[in-house]
């Protein structure tokens, strides 16, 4: 509760495009590289 869009990425089942999941995967990967 209380998470703003800047602190989390969102995806909706049967509502968001595949790109949303790709963005999530990129975020996780970039965090790991840093």
């Amino acid at each position: 509760a209380g998470l703003t869009p800047r602190s989390a990425l969102l995806y909706k089942f049967n509502g968001s495009p595949s790109k949303s999941l790709k963005d999530i995967n990129n975020m996780i990967r970039q965090g790991e590289q840093r």
Binding site: S18, K19, N25, I28, R29
Partner: protein
């Protein structure tokens, strides 16, 4: 000159939006083609797989490289001690080859013909362009 600049900015924004929307449309086309190929393949299979070895669409898959990943699950969240990736079922169907190489522009002529028959006729130019990976020319042609 100011008006020209404003219009130029407007033009760039529109081009960007169109590029995104074309990409989304491509994804949807691949989704429909892959799904129809899946259904056809399963219908033509000699025998159905055991019911305890299948998973029905729609689903997403979470993958972790390290097999010792600790994953604790409560009723609304997963906690992992390592990185993961998430892929939707359309991605799984693409990796199974059910998009017939369209996603990477490496589609044979026979598969291209089949793919065109699986989507509404008005969208066939998109499939042709995807097979050649030159989606930008679709826009030019339509204009």
């Amino acid at each position: 000159a100011q008006k020209y600049q404003d219009l130029e900015v407007d033009r760039q924004r529109r081009l960007e939006r169109i590029k995104q929307k074309q990409s989304q449309l491509q994804e949807l086309i691949l989704q429909q083609i892959a799904f129809k190929n899946l259904v056809q393949a399963e219908q033509q299979a000699n025998w159905p797989p055991p019911s305890n070895s299948i998973i029905h669409l729609l689903f997403i898959v979470n993958t972790s490289k390290k097999t010792m990943t600790d994953c604790s699950i409560s009723n609304d969240k997963f906690d992992f001690d390592n990185t993961f990736e998430i892929h939707d079922d359309t991605e799984v169907l693409k990796q199974m080859g059910l998009a017939r190489g369209l996603e990477s522009g490496s589609c044979s002529a026979e598969h291209l013909k089949m793919a065109r028959s699986l989507i509404p006729k008005a969208l066939e130019p998109y499939v042709t362009e995807m097979s050649q990976r030159s989606i930008s020319s679709v826009f030019v042609t339509s204009s």
